[in-house]
Symmetry: C2
């Protein structure tokens, strides 16, 4: 049995703007963590850190402009190694629908529940950033 | 197979304050929906509505002061009937740890993912309400 974290929500802006926010260092720095570095091209890696805490290293394994971004975690101090992260975008009722999943969990445990809540906060930050230009990335306040 | 929505997070206030926010009409009105009515005592029911949309009717099936609140959905226009909602509280590193679960899902589908994101937003509203006195309940803006 494997568990996934899944979030579905809408952002009131264009597909290309949301895609850019998830597929560029500048975009990611504005809603997830200001300590984002690396290369967001296909097969390259992005490093996400949080204050004094080293975060995950993600390899970009799929990029379909204005449609889908998939990462595979290749290193993580917190047990995320080999987990898969998918952002799927489509148009729905004039807005951009985002379907996010973080899969590869062996257990639906406390850490899963903590990461689920935290993803919710950062995905809301993504929404705010895309709609208002101002997100709530880690380290931004 | 059954799926659960699970969120774990911390609120920087006392157990009793968080308990009150989840076990009184006034508390619930401040972080979930301003249209909360009914009776929050054991075996009684609470009705939650959202603007022009009728929401779930919850029966309070467990109440342990400063520790646990459990609801069972007894009527819902959105397929939540018979689902179980648990808020478990304990003290952790000087804060109140909240473990929330919404169980009874037959499928981890789009509606599950939508509800998961939405619970995340309202639980963050619960946190803000408990810490600052100001939540973001539906209908409050």
């Amino acid at each position: 049995m494997e568990y996934s974290i899944k979030h579905l929500f809408h952002i009131n802006t264009s597909l290309s703007k949301v895609y850019e926010a998830i597929s560029t260092i500048e975009g990611l720095s504005n809603w997830w963590t200001i300590q984002t570095k690396g290369n967001t091209a296909l097969n390259e890696t992005i490093q996400f850190d949080f204050g004094g805490t080293k975060g995950p290293t993600m390899k970009v394994i799929k990029l379909e402009p204005a449609k889908e971004i998939v990462w595979q975690c290749i290193a993580s101090p917190h047990g995320w190694k080999d987990h898969i992260y998918t952002f799927s975008l489509d148009k729905n009722e004039g807005k951009t629908r985002v379907q996010f999943s973080h899969s590869g969990w062996k257990e639906s445990n406390d850490f899963y529940a903590h990461c689920n809540f935290t993803w919710g906060r950062y995905l809301e930050s993504l929404r705010q950033y895309c709609e208002t230009g101002r997100g709530a990335a880690s380290g931004s306040e």
